[in-house]
Amino acid sequence: MKDRLSVVGKSVRRIDALDKVTGRAKYCIDLKVDDMLHAKLLRSPYPHARVTKIDTTRAENHPRIRAIATIDEVPRVVGYWWNLRTEKAMKRMYLQDNVVRFRGDPVLGVAADDEESAQEALSLIDVEYEELPALFDPIEAMKEDHLKIHEGGNIAIHVAKKFGDVDQGFKQADYVFENRFVTSKQKHASIEPIGTAIADYGRSGRLTVYTSTQLPHWSRIYLAGALGLPVNRVRVIKPYTGGAFGGRCGLIHGLEVMCCFLSRKAGRPVKMSFSREEDFEATEARHPFIIELKTGVTKDGILTANSIKLILDVGGYGTHYIGVLADALSTGVGLYRCPNVTFEGYCVYTNKSLNGAFRGYGNPQMNFAQESQMDMIAEKLAMDPVEFRVKNYRGLGEIDPVFDVPIRSDGMKDCLAKGAKKFGWNKKRTRKVDEGTKRRGVGMSCLQHGTGARFGLPDPASAIVMLNADGSANLLTAAADDGQGNRTVLAQIAAEELGIPLEQISVSDTDTDVAPLDGGTHGSRQTYCGGLAVKRAAADAKMALLRFASQHLNVEEKSLEIKDGVVYDVKDRSTNIRVGDLMRKVQIEDLSRCEQIIGYASGVAPAMPPTFGAHFAEVEVDMETGEVYVVKLVGAFDVGRAINPANVEGQIIGGEAMGIGYALTEGLIIDNGKIVNNNFTDYRILRACDVPQIDAIIVESNEPTGPFGAKGIGEATMVGTAAAIANAIYDAIGVRMKELCITQEKILEAIDRGARASGV
């Protein structure tokens, strides 16, 4: 099949790259709308307080202030598309009260003629607060009965699941391992700061919102609900986006809804842009986890029981926590065969900035714990960690107990084998090079990550393919491209299915007025879910086209094919017609017809296939300074089929780099509710000089339900990086690091602990 493909499987240039390298691509932050106002937020200086009085008189007298909207009228969106299923759940999604729940929580917004005036106005507004005691520690917050961050209490949700009989399972075990792991609050740190939107509430009651959202269509519904408008009156336009990684997976706290309210009041368009500091301090981050893991295993390396207890720090408001917990569950229970499992998860509110979606969802957290634990077990059993994984992972034909579906494509063994070979695993494991104060170590991890979100969540994808009179086509899709390149991939899929050259496909803007319902860009879903919709829409158009061709050429439809823009008879290639000629006839020439061919598809993907992967890491630790240097990293991922291999490699290398940050440097530090490292000097993401050699390996297992065999990739790429690095650090220094991020100080402390323990 592979060689018959013309454009799928090729590293074609991105359709948007030239606009980006010439500076012509417009990001939300670059947009201007005629007559627009500029807005700023007044944010709470307290981590927990009740706003008792807001006096705006002085600001209202400011000649350049056009509107003020406060906490007394503007709701927050505290849910996600899970809430859209019922009217009751949807009501719960909007929270409007006068309590602020973290330092930086918006109290009001001001719209003025220019930014300086808006800023000035903030100092003219007097707000009185009744300060409330704050809860920062999720464990404390869980126990607390009196002080409630939200009406329903501090536990947002408690989930308990049971598979088999764990007591029995632990009895069967020869060894039991019990460990506690803690993970950090990582920030997306996309280079375009999170938090720019323009809202234009038109006089005719039509609302247009420009925002860099991963979810144009869901955002449209959220906004309609917040403003009390029918959905048709809201239009969401997503311009180019400077990276998202989950950070734009919904409306931004205090942004779009506020702009809409201000625009409605002022009768003019309103733009607001958060500063980098606001992005760090007051937009969603990765949920920190506390993970208690108890695992039973026989001496032959068979897992007999697993008990998993998780505490998720939700922050002041909850959005994605249920999904994040479910993702952790699917790793904790799904990755390895183990008959007896208990899983318990608590999502807990604290008075800190909110947490939400972030590349990998709950998987990087859970994977760090699980894959560290697996490493400990393998060591105890004196098994090669790779072999131990091969023995236990759930593969082809097996049923994932969480989602209760069979695995139809499984490239895990290939990922492990190819990754190990490229890395030089066997050699490096046995031959250690230690120099002076430097110790080297190697470690690995493996992972799975589901593609899409169809289980438990609405997960639609749609596409429209319109053929033009010259045989070219327009693809209408609302699949947001945050930089991954999915618009290019979808164009490749449409071109392949239609049999026309890639250059003859144009992909629409991401605009809810133009492109049909889509569940958003998250869950590594656009190549698979979006791709399936595009493929079906293109097939639909192709069917109509072949019907016309059959009439025209007098050949049965089923013996017609299209390639390179020409319809031909497979039995006799000389019977053919160019798609352009045919389309011109149908649309224009034949006056009795004048019909455009429009292919269409909408619906949910048939499955949620897991992407498999393995990471191999080599580190060098300086025993004197505690510095860790990642020497080499290999990531091997089973993507089903790579529609655009360069894009896949780009995801792998970028994800691995982000994973190194998660392992070693990235975590927001919060002191008394205040985020201390709110800039790129103190919150360190990797720079070009920090990135080691990263090898990306693509494994193609051909997912039978996927478009041309493809499944997802984006998120999987960083899921196991931290565990592989932590395992390599253990190999180097002999002490287990159970808390992310693994800073220099923690390493020094661990080396010290290790030395004391061994009596040196």
Partner: protein
């Protein structure tokens, strides 16, 4: 505070402007002249997204006051290509799939341009060192580094700066 009159040349065109003493070059380029190809990622000198060239050198436009560049010639990403032809750096970034979200890209390219102005044959290490003032969250830098090395080779061949 009173405004100051300055004249600056951006991509070959001179502008006479009255600017506030605190206005940055970044704000002037983006807000006044509509040259939004130069990006803002932090507005305090940490990310490199705002890099432009003055006198062939890379500077951070967010840390540069407009009044400081009175009389200077400024080259931004919008001025790099010749007619419809992209600059070899731009071409290499496209070809090498070095662009993902593209937000860091103008800054990277302008920084690389300045490097190649004075070092037409940089080593990978030198490229990485230079590029370390540009944050990129998408690519892991691998492909941008490759693209710059490739552009350098092509430019040496064409003797084009």
């Amino acid at each position: 505070m009173t405004k100051r009159d300055i004249s600056i040349c951006v991509n070959g065109k001179w502008y006479e402007l009255a600017v506030e003493p605190y206005e940055t070059l970044l704000d002037v380029l983006r807000d006044r002249l509509g040259h939004t190809g130069t990006k803002s990622g932090c507005a305090k000198g940490e990310c490199g997204a705002c890099t432009v060239n003055i006198d062939g050198k890379a500077i951070l436009s967010c840390l540069t006051l407009a009044v400081q560049v009175d009389g200077k010639e400024i080259l931004t990403i919008e001025g790099l290509h010749k007619g419809a032809e992209p600059h070899p750096l731009q071409e290499a970034f496209v070809k090498q799939a070095a662009v993902q979200c593209g937000y860091c890209t103008p800054g990277m390219i302008m920084n690389a341009k300045a490097l190649l102005n004075h070092n037409s044959n940089p080593s990978e290490k030198e490229v990485r060192k230079t590029l370390s003032s540009n944050l990129c969250r998408c690519t892991g830098y691998e492909r941008p580094v490759k693209a710059i090395l490739e552009a350098a080779t092509i430019m040496r061949g064409k003797d084009e700066r």
